[in-house]
């Protein structure tokens, strides 16, 4: 693959591999125009999109017009902000005005309007599973996105297209949605940063909601700074970092986490059966945090079967949301989606209310832990990305990932940051969690960790990749 996209003003570098912040700096320094930056990404998409299936739609013409407009505006009125002219993508559950394949009909989302106001350029819509409920199936209207690290391994989901696009440098920032881990899960598997803010921090208006009490809009990018800047654009408020301002980098050898208390729920981690290399990488991450000055201590989170609590709530709410449309227009829905949703029609009101009671109890326990610790840390996923073949052997398991789903259930902010590669050469990630509303704290600690961990993101295209996804037998899942 020709990974180098050279445009006027790029000075021979690969502008697509830069972070959003770096791209924005080039634009503001007038070393590259918004239009040139967009063209570089479109060219890169042309080169590799057919292998990755990350986008369900690319708005080349519309984005080009907007980039030209932003260039004219910057000459006349200056720049809108640090991300002026930076391309971004939306998971195909987040509205931008017109009809879309996964959502059936999608009005402009509140978050889309905010990013557009901040001067970002919408590049396209990224692949997901039907209505965000995975795994992929034969009846899905679009093929599933691939993991750029290895086409033989799954990208995670359901914000798989967003994670894959960011990892493969097709865009520096993308939005996803997270109901049980659907931002952090693919972020971890694809080696990018994934952030699920506190519940309700980013509006769900204009988003194709699966479960109103669980869904979060989240952000995927190649650096914590990019996530934080994008998050500021979506919430219209400045973050107040307790560790370091976002505009400055930590000094080498400094201890920016001095005095920060980090809790490790080893009992909970053990119940998720992490792989050996996941545990080794997690211990490496703890050493990095300790070297940064953090006080690491063991803590306990003795919750069992929280995945079932999430599933009962998710499936009940999704069934309620879609019941009427099912009855009138069942052909709107893919067969696999119908089968996945079926248990939602079988729960009683008592089941749902019991699940909500369990959820409040679990949330109270996590609240108590994050009162005692500034952040909790745990692996984002128990393993690196499984192969497509193994994934099928596992029966297209629908159980939500244990380490991410608990914080979707409780609404605490959670950030996934890549740490290192597994023995198979696939990314492994650390998850940081803070008190509800403590989004700035989790981003600040994540930023210090990221700088010290020095993870090198995806740099090249693996050669001769074949044997990736093929459709599952009808009726599974």
């Amino acid at each position: 693959m020709n990974d180098a996209v050279v445009v006027a003003g790029d000075r021979g570098g690969n502008v697509c591999s830069l972070t959003a912040l770096e791209q924005g700096r080039l634009v503001r320094a007038r070393e590259i125009s918004c239009w040139e930056l967009l063209q570089a990404h479109l060219q890169h998409i042309d080169e590799i999109e057919s292998s990755l299936h990350t986008f369900v739609a690319v708005f080349a013409e519309e984005a080009g017009l907007r980039a030209r407009r932003l260039d004219r505006e910057s000459r006349r009125d200056g720049f809108r902000g640090p991300l002026h002219g930076v391309p971004y993508a939306l998971k195909d559950l987040i509205g931008r005005r017109e009809h879309s394949q996964s959502t059936k009909a999608a009005p402009a989302a509140d978050v889309t309007r905010k990013l557009n106001r901040a001067g970002l350029v919408l590049l396209g819509k990224t692949a997901t599973y039907e209505l965000g409920m995975g795994p992929p199936a034969e009846s899905d209207p679009v093929p599933p996105a691939q993991n750029p690290w290895s086409l033989q391994h799954i990208p995670g989901g359901s914000s798989s297209g967003s994670a894959s696009a960011v990892a493969a440098h097709l865009c520096p920032v993308a939005l996803g949605t997270d109901t049980g881990g659907s931002v952090r899960h693919p972020a971890a598997y694809c080696g990018v940063v994934g952030f699920k803010p506190s519940f309700g921090r980013i509006s769900l208006e204009g988003v194709a909601v699966l479960s109103p009490s669980l869904d979060h809009v989240g952000i995927l990018a190649r650096s914590v700074d990019d996530v934080a800047l994008t998050y500021e654009c979506t919430t219209s408020s400045r973050l107040r970092s307790r560790v370091a301002p976002l505009s400055s980098a930590p000094n080498p050898g400094s201890r920016p986490l001095e005095g920060v208390s980090v809790g490790v729920p080893w009992d909970f981690i053990g119940r998720g059966s992490p792989a050996d290399d996941t545990l080794a990488t997690f211990r490496q991450a703890l050493r990095i945090l300790a070297d940064l000055g953090a006080a690491i201590s063991d803590t306990q989170l003795p919750i069992e079967r929280h995945e079932d609590v999430l599933s009962v709530i998710l499936l009940s709410e999704a069934a309620a949301r879609h019941a009427e449309a099912y009855a009138v227009n069942p052909e709107w829905y893919g067969l696999s989606f119908r089968a996945r949703l079926a248990p939602g029609f079988l729960f009683s009101a008592v089941d749902y209310l019991q699940a909500q009671i369990a959820r409040r109890m679990i949330r109270s326990l996590v609240d108590e832990l994050v009162r005692r610790h500034d952040v909790l840390v745990l692996p984002t996923m128990p393993t690196s990305a499984p192969s497509w073949a193994k994934f099928r052997e596992m029966g297209w398991d629908l159980t939500p990932p244990p380490f991410t789903s608990i914080f979707s259930l409780t609404g605490h902010p959670a950030l996934s940051v890549p740490v290192a590669l597994s023995t198979e050469g696939l990314p492994l990630a650390l998850q940081l969690v803070a008190r509800r509303g403590g989004d700035d704290a989790v981003l600040a600690v994540g930023r210090a960790f990221e700088a010290a961990a020095g993870f090198r993101g995806f740099r090249g295209w693996p050669e001769a990749q074949a044997g990736g996804w093929t459709a599952a037998p009808a009726g599974t899942g």
Partner: protein, 79 residues
């Protein structure tokens, strides 16, 4: 839906996948299926094996909720 024989549940207890549909069709009383399920499956005709498996899955999840509550209670009492 009424499961006439609890042993059916054990036989389809693989998580709702790979069901023995012949067994499911014989042992499952579909007269009380929720009406919405009739449109979940193709042409309004439920796949009995799949419905039975999903029913088992739903019951297992609801039991899991009780387990989650119990684990949280133990913790609360231990504080």
């Amino acid at each position: 839906m009424v499961m006439r024989d609890e042993s059916v549940e054990a036989r389809v207890g693989s998580g709702g996948f790979g069901l023995d549909r012949r067994v499911a069709a014989r042992d499952c009383d579909c007269s009380r299926l929720p009406a919405t399920l009739n449109v979940v499956f193709p042409d309004g005709h439920p796949d009995l094996g799949l419905v039975l498996g999903k029913s088992w899955l739903a019951r297992r999840m609801a039991e899991g909720v009780r387990r989650a509550q119990a684990s949280a209670n133990v913790r609360a009492e231990g504080k």
